[in-house]
């Protein structure tokens, strides 16, 4: 599948934003984050900016952006619609939570509930995003049970690392948050390895013969193409990344999204002062670049069954 930059930006930015918002909501409610207004403005501001920028970017790839509101109507059947509805509802508890924290300096009672509510809706929104892909049987590498877990845990990991970077100047050595960063990164890494193993060894159940109804013959091969230049289908679904490039990018993803941030988080716990701040920021930048690579590969490595009509043997 063609990796569209607006969609890569949308899923990684909103993932990080919702991960961050969910952690803020929960850790404030449990009393594990300071009242500090400056920290609140930075952290909540970053979360909401990432979410809003991602959602705006998602309308950029529409053919008719001025009609985007129509996408809120089919929440009964469409995950894309559910994503939009949940994203908008999510601003409610998030605003209440921000009000309680930034203006009233409260984190209990209704303000704690607002935090939990924002967290819950964040998780639900990221899950809906992942289900847009998970529900497409025409693209087997997306139609995989690990895909929603992948999205959720990466959102948590990226959100946690950015929270860690923003919190570092205000609180030095937040052990609980560092533990969350470490655990989320490790879990996300294992999941990604499991996912790549699974898709590499999967054998497609559709063949060029089942796609054309020519199963009573021997081998079927394309002969005359239906058109002599790439059409919409080939441009959108025909994108394929060469194996050697994919392998290189996977190695880079291992390094930037997982290994380097894990090492840096440990390093941060072992250092203090300016060095510790720098290390925390570096970990956040590294994981974000890594996740953009991961998402690019998620698209570029996905094969669409329509390619059976254009030369693929089995998908």
């Amino acid at each position: 599948m063609q990796p569209a930059y607006s969609v890569i930006f949308l899923t990684t930015a909103t993932g990080t934003g919702y991960g961050l918002l969910a952690l803020l909501g929960i850790l404030r409610a449990t009393g594990d984050l300071p009242d500090d207004r400056a920290f609140g403005v930075f952290a909540l501001g970053l979360a909401l900016a990432l979410i809003s920028a991602g959602l705006l970017a998602s309308t950029a790839h529409l053919g008719r952006p001025e009609r985007a509101w129509r996408a809120l109507s089919q929440w009964r059947s469409s995950w894309l619609s559910r994503e939009g509805v949940l994203a908008i509802i999510g601003y409610g508890p998030a605003a209440l939570f921000a009000y309680g924290w930034l203006l009233l300096q409260q984190n209990d009672g209704i303000w704690a509930m607002a935090g939990w509510g924002a967290a819950l809706l964040s998780v639900a929104t990221v899950y809906s995003t992942s289900m847009i892909y998970r529900s497409l049987a025409a693209i087997p590498r997306w139609h995989h049970p690990l895909v929603p877990w992948n999205y959720l845990i990466l959102a948590l990991a990226t959100g946690a690392l950015w929270l860690n970077a923003v919190l570092a100047p205000f609180v030095s050595g937040h052990a609980l948050l560092q533990a969350i960063c470490f655990a989320a990164l490790a879990a996300a890494w294992l999941l990604k390895i499991a996912y790549w193993r699974a898709i590499d060894s999967a054998v497609g159940d559709s063949t060029i013969a089942s796609a054309t109804g020519l199963e009573s013959f021997g081998a079927v091969r394309p002969l005359d193409p239906p058109h002599v230049q790439d059409n919409y289908l080939l441009k959108e679904m025909g994108f394929a990344v060469a194996r050697k490039h994919a392998e290189k990018l996977r190695r880079l993803t291992h390094l930037l999204a997982f290994l380097a941030p894990l090492v840096l988080i440990v390093l941060q716990a072992a250092t203090s002062g300016q060095v510790s701040l720098m290390v925390a920021a570096l970990a956040a930048v590294s994981v974000s670049i890594g996740v953009v690579l991961e998402r690019w590969l998620f698209f570029a490595e996905a094969q669409h069954k329509v390619m059976l009509y254009y030369g693929a043997d089995r998908i």
């Binding site: 109507s73 469409s78 109804g213 021997g218 002969l223 230049q229």
Partner: protein, 246 residues
């Protein structure tokens, strides 16, 4: 609603495409483009039509495949031409993924359509269709697909014989047939039953309405009697064989 119709459609209109007789002339594709660029889903734009990067929206594409012989099924190898358009699936994933309700399946005849006034051009329906039956119109920013020529098949301004999809009318080899699959006496039902019409990508369970008739076995070519040993045949042939074998 972009949910599928809750009760099965009364009629199940669709096409039967005969892979045995299709000659790959592209007449169906061209007439489809011609009719529909002025029909219900008009226009079907082309970009750079006379330049080096020709591209454009077509609702029907004709592929050519080479199918090898298979001894177990007694099929001889041959070239197969394969027109590909929307199959108007019963379990259409292109309908349920649509966030706006623009992509829908009609309750009365099962035809799958796009309401272009509602479409936001998110392309998700084209990702959901494994058959590649939807093409995006970059000019209008909306999705296009086969309409089963609803503006012909119900068109009272046309002669009754003309109330057929443009592609069916255009086919010089009569490889395309239109009708109601719910009616056991219709052409399409009869042909499907007689010739073992197949569902494409049946393993996906989308229950496409359109059926493809597989090529007939033509393994008899080259099976004629050979002249090897006619000595016992007697008569003139036997005499010649005996003389020449001496």
């Amino acid at each position: 609603m972009t949910s599928l119709p809750s009760i099965p459609p009364a009629k199940r209109l669709g096409l039967v495409i005969d892979l045995d007789t299709c000659v790959g002339c592209h007449a169906c594709a061209v007439s489809c483009k011609e009719w529909n660029t002025g029909g219900h889903v008009a226009p079907l734009p082309d970009t750079d039509p006379y330049g080096k990067d020709v591209d454009g929206v077509w609702l029907n594409r004709v592929h050519g495949f080479e199918a090898e012989a298979d001894s177990s099924s007694n099929m001889a190898g041959r070239t197969v031409y394969f027109p590909r358009s929307c199959l108007h699936c019963e379990e259409a994933p292109c309908v349920t993924v649509c966030p706006t309700g623009a992509s829908y399946k009609r309750g009365e005849d099962g035809i799958v359509l796009v309401d272009e006034d509602k479409c936001i051009g998110c392309k998700l329906c084209s990702w959901a269709c494994p058959y590649g039956a939807r093409e995006f119109d970059g000019d209008g920013g909306v999705m296009k697909k086969c309409t089963l020529c609803i503006d012909r098949i119900y068109n009272e301004n046309l002669e009754p014989a003309e109330r057929q999809p443009a592609c069916v009318n255009a086919c010089p080899a009569r490889a395309r047939h239109f009708g109601d699959f719910n009616d056991p006496d219709s052409d399409v039902s009869q042909l499907t039953a007689e010739r073992g019409g197949v569902e494409l990508l049946a393993e996906m369970g989308l229950k496409p309405t359109n059926r493809y008739l597989p090529p007939r076995s033509s393994a008899t070519v080259g099976d004629g009697a050979s002249l090897e040993d006619a000595a016992d045949a007697g008569g003139f042939l036997g005499w010649i064989d005996r003389v020449l074998s001496r």
